[in-house]
């Protein structure tokens, strides 16, 4: 079947989509957007987290056909041209990335958290990231990155930027 969606602000049309395939497969294999990762294909790891109509979901659990006409934002859509989003920059600086497989999903989940709250407590951060597994970092540096991004975003919004 044919599916038309908006992905990262651009209209996309893909053909020959199998009716049972996931949005994650369609993004990675048909639209050339391999940022979202497939580490479990069953909703457990969060590596495939994308925004679907502004709500973070596991792309592996959305049928591609369900995305028809919807608005999708993937990790590829967060940076402004060559400038990383402050959440991405904070992950780099805080050393929150080792193998990097979990990173795209964590970036989207953290991005969503910080869109709602710029002063999240550690407990709120942990809860917001509870659907994202990382086998490498032990999470401490990820928490550091989210706090760093929160501080910078709060400063930026205080100074009106």
């Amino acid at each position: 079947m044919r599916i038309t969606t908006t992905v990262n602000g651009e209209p996309r049309e893909i053909d020959d989509v199998w009716e049972g395939e996931s949005l994650l497969y369609a993004l990675r294999e048909r639209m050339g957007l391999p940022g979202s990762k497939n580490a479990c294909d069953q909703g457990e790891c969060g590596s495939c987290t994308v925004y679907l109509d502004a709500v973070p979901v596991c792309a592996c659990l959305v049928a591609a056909g369900q995305a028809q006409g919807r608005d999708i934002i993937t990790v590829e859509g967060l940076a402004e041209r060559d400038t990383l989003h402050p959440v991405q920059q904070a992950f780099v600086e805080a050393g929150a990335v080792q193998c990097g497989f979990c990173t795209p999903g964590l970036i989207v989940a953290a991005h969503d958290l910080l869109a709602r709250s710029l002063q999240p407590s550690d407990q709120v951060i942990r809860e917001a990231l509870a659907g994202n597994l990382c086998r490498c970092t032990g999470y401490e540096k990820i928490l550091d990155a989210v706090r760093l991004a929160a501080d910078r975003l709060a400063d930026a919004s205080a100074s009106g930027r």
């Binding site: 009716e19 049972g20 294909d41 973070p56 959305v62 049928a63 989940a109 917001a128 509870a130």
Partner: protein, 289 residues
Amino acid sequence: MDFLQPRSWAEALEAKAAHPDAVPIAGGTDVMVELNFDVRRPPALLDLTRVEELTEWSMDEGQVRLGAGVTYARVITELGRELPGLAMASRTVGSPQIRNRGTVGGNLGAASPAGDSHPALLAAEAQVELASLSGTRTMPVSDFYTGVKRNALEPDELIAAILITPPSGPQQFCKIGTRNAMVIAVSAFGLALHPDRRAVGTGIGSAAPTPRRAREAEQFLAQALDEDGLWDSRRDLPAGLAHDFGARVRAAAAPIDDVRGTAAYRLHSLAVMARRALTWAWDDYQKAA
């Protein structure tokens, strides 16, 4: 495979009648796992996410009418006051991503004994509304579960809504698992006190082939509260009552050993959860006076 995408409830019922073997898909958090792992290859998927009638809730003759496609995230943010037990249960489901997508109707459709909605719906004595082209029927949720992962849906039927009376008293939900997130219940328990009717509702999860009520325990507790005039006085519970209630809840379960836990642990944990749930609920009831 066909992909059916009705835009209205009428179209959805027509599609299900024309394709009884089509598998409905709402949040997809159960269905997609089965597709991704080739556990299931249905001839058609019936996407319900465009059916607005399913994704809304309303107040209808003093009852909450919860569309089958309302997500856990919305139950938590919008219905914490009207459906406290279900909102507590919803908070324990999966992860934020799963709660953003998974629905209460999908939990009923899957009818897993471990589904977290069930103990809360049983305790609140919810009704399930099923519909097909030939009509609508409503049944107590306790009649909806017919076996392990089996339910009362006919091949041409869809779940329309869940009907729940807002609480007249406190509700509690407890769940045992190995961590705080992303956990299928080892065992779970829901409790609702209904002071308006002087009744007690319970729901047992993950400890029998289907979710079930502990009816004998409900009657025991309701009667004990009645006899001592405690519904009105709201005095402290007599020593041992919560413990005895827990023992009766345990007696209503019929668990098995599996990878998540042993039958013995499930029985023990149920007795403990029921005792604690009652203690907390009674505390809430006293504070609300």
